[in-house]
């Protein structure tokens, strides 16, 4: 009887518990929701918008709609039909009146250098819509460029709605007049070098941080707690200091009439000031300084958890200290080395302020080109494409970092 009673009551109770749990989960989700909505508006949508801008091809379809439509029938060989010429003449006249022609001219100028002049001068000379059947000779008469296939191929390649132009340009590729992918012209093919430079500086800074950070982390991890906490101030104080303050200080230290040069000249070691800043040396110096704590802190936390018993065991089994260090200690620090290196590298390749202030023209990293195309030349498509490539590299590395950090947490949980 008791069993029947329990079994009977069991079902609704279970259901009630389940319902209560579900309400609790909904309430929990409700608490996270405001932040998610906020980030959607201030972060996720803007980033998605940036990625969309790297493929969005709105200029030519909007400014030259009839031409785009007329070119749909063109087979791409020879010159298009008379209709396309008439459509272009009509589009040019409309766009000139609306003041939008420059938008299309700018976009087409990316495809063929000098296109802006062709389009704008044609617009200036084109007084009236040519009589039916004469559009072709009129336009070619105004500018011989309209008698070339490339001019028309350019319009067709930019006729949207999406384009691979910017993304290809970000890796020094382009499409030729037939639409095949080809190497970009030498004067535009600079981004592979910029990316290579960005990654080189990233690797260099990471290596320097590891080299300088390892002994410090080792020392801090092996000192008694009181003393290591005290020395930790030397790591945390610069870590807490404003990035601009530190960058400014490095300029004061390294510039030609700065502290280092002043002291060396005063000591008579050098006659002429050394060039220590506004070059690659200054970038490495300042960036290593800024990012070093990001290496020391994860290394320290891993080394702190390595039991000294392992080293003692190795020694008691007859391993010489160097062997014990290399074969027993070092492998256990690899999670810390991995996490520290990834963190420093991720932060380094995205740096903007420090290279902008202490680097020369040849030390500017990808971020500075993104900023340049956003605010100076207003080539938002290219800025977005470069940004998309940088974002992708960063996210891939961040996922690897997340896996590493998560793996460490899991083993930490198992140890407890």
């Amino acid at each position: 009887m008791t069993a029947a009673f329990v079994a009977g009551a069991d079902v609704p109770l279970k259901r009630r518990l389940k319902r209560a749990e579900r309400t609790r989960q909904f309430r929990a989700l409700g608490l996270v929701l405001p932040l998610l909505v906020f980030l959607l508006f201030t972060f996720v949508v803007p980033l998605a918008g940036m990625i969309w801008k790297s493929v969005d091809d709105w200029e030519v379809p909007q400014v030259l709609p009839q031409t785009v439509a007329a070119l749909e029938q063109w087979n791409g060989r020879g010159l298009p039909e008379e209709g396309a010429f008439a459509a272009l003449a009509a589009d040019i006249r409309t766009a000139r009146e609306a003041g939008t022609l420059a938008i299309a001219a700018k976009r087409l100028n990316y495809v063929v250098n000098g296109y802006r002049t062709t389009l704008l001068s044609t617009a200036r000379k084109l007084k009236d819509q040519p009589a039916p059947g004469t559009a072709r000779e009129t336009l070619i008469g105004l500018n011989p460029a309209w008698g070339e296939r490339e001019s028309w191929a350019a319009i067709r390649s930019a006729s949207g709605p999406v384009t691979s132009y910017y993304l290809l340009a970000a890796v020094d590729l382009t499409r030729d007049a037939d639409g095949a992918i080809a190497a970009a012209p030498a004067d535009q093919a600079i981004y592979r070098e910029v990316f290579a430079r960005t990654f080189t500086i990233g690797f260099g800074v990471t290596a320097l941080c590891l080299l300088l950070g390892f002994p410090v982390a080792y020392l801090l991890a092996n000192l008694p707690t009181g003393r290591s906490n005290l020395l930790m101030i030397f790591v945390l104080l610069p870590f807490w200091t404003s990035l601009l303050v530190r960058t400014c200080a490095w300029i004061v230290i390294l510039q030609s009439e700065g502290i280092v040069n002043g002291s060396l000249q005063w000591l008579g070691i050098i006659d002429e000031p050394l060039r220590l800043i506004y070059n690659r040396f200054g970038v490495y110096m300042a960036m290593t300084h800024v990012l070093l704590p990001f290496m020391i802190l994860p290394l320290y936390s891993v080394m702190r958890s390595i039991s000294p018993a392992y080293m003692r065991a190795a020694a008691s089994l007859g391993a010489p200290p160097a062997t014990a260090f290399l074969r027993i200690y070092l492998p256990q620090t690899i999670p810390g080395i991995g996490a520290g290196c990834l963190l420093v590298f991720i932060l380094a390749i995205g740096y903007y302020i420090t290279p902008a202030l202490v680097g020369g023209a040849a030390d500017q990293m990808i971020s500075s080109f993104i900023a340049f195309y956003t605010t100076e030349t207003v080539n938002w498509g290219l800025a977005s494409a470069l940004g998309a490539v940088l974002l992708l590299s960063t996210l891939v590395l961040a996922v690897v970092y997340g896996k590493l950090a998560l793996g460490r947490q899991t083993t930490g949980g198992l140890k407890n």
């Binding site: 980030l39 801090l220 404003s242 200080a249 200290p321």
Partner: protein, 276 residues
């Protein structure tokens, strides 16, 4: 765990001494900028060189009497306080929710919430600039406050979540079983216990905004220039001794902020230790 550095052999002793020497050099490298710039800010000379010809507070006076610097200080405080308040509210709610939420989507949500910390700021700045410009959110405080809140919230979530890890969730159930409505439970039970975590989260958020310059470069008009933005301009043109005074003021502010955070963190660790 500590003090396994009782070197037995000569080679071990040499290795340990090498570590100490190398670390000392690195500590010097880490401290060099601060050591270099603090005395210069008290120099009586307009040249940024040693030895100092004499001591003076003229650069600090310069800073305090400059309308440009004072305006930027005001902007930094307005934007910093507003984004700290906003990110603390959003981040605390989210942390409370994340602590109780069980779902296989949780890692994804967590990744989204923390991603403003990982994505290079220049990309965030460009994306937000494209998005905010047509909405009229550039060249005013609101746009900057929104972006700084987005950048600062991950730090609030991390700090508050760390506090909540030591928080006994059964206390909430106990309060509920005694008849307290959720809001009262939060106010009387949860809030007093996690308050130190909230405070350090808010300070972290303020510090993040106070030090941020990249989004300000893109979004701020001349009226919203913050302290770091003015410093950026100053470093670009010509480093005047006034900048060194501003640098020292900024350093003192961040050291104060983060000392308080550290004290709060230690208090939290201690409380957790007592509970465990």
């Amino acid at each position: 765990m500590s003090a396994n550095h009782s070197p037995q052999t000569a080679s071990q002793r040499i290795a340990w001494i090498t570590t100490i020497v190398a670390s000392t050099l690195v500590f010097f490298f880490l401290m060099a900028p601060i050591l270099a710039i603090v005395p210069l800010s008290f120099s009586s000379s307009t040249y940024l060189t040693y030895p100092l010809p004499g001591l003076s507070l003229r650069w600090y006076e310069d800073f305090l009497h400059s309308a440009r610097w004072m305006n930027s200080l005001k902007n930094s405080v307005i934007i910093g306080v507003a984004s700290a308040v906003l990110s603390m509210a959003l981040g605390t709610l989210a942390s409370l929710g994340l602590a109780q939420w069980k779902s296989r989507w949780k890692p994804v949500v967590l990744a989204v919430v923390l991603s403003p910390m990982v994505v290079p700021v220049v990309i965030t700045a460009v994306g937000v600039y494209f998005f905010f410009a047509p909405l009229g959110l550039t060249g005013n405080y609101l746009g900057l406050i929104l972006v700084h809140t987005a950048l600062a919230t991950p730090f609030v979530v991390i700090t508050v979540s760390a506090t909540l890890q030591g928080f006994d969730m059964t206390l909430m159930r106990a309060a509920a079983s005694l008849g307290a409505p959720p809001l009262l439970t939060f106010r009387k039970v949860v809030l007093p216990l996690i308050l130190p975590g909230l405070a350090s989260g808010a300070l972290f958020a303020f510090a993040t905004s106070f030090d941020e310059v990249v989004t300000v470069l893109f979004l701020a008009g001349p009226e919203q220039r913050t302290l770091p933005r003015e410093m950026f301009a100053g470093i670009r043109e010509n480093i005047s001794p006034t900048i060194t005074a501003v640098a020292v003021v900024l350093t003192v502010v961040s050291v104060c902020l983060l000392s308080v955070i550290e004290l709060l963190r230690r208090r939290n660790e201690r409380l957790k230790g007592n509970a465990g």
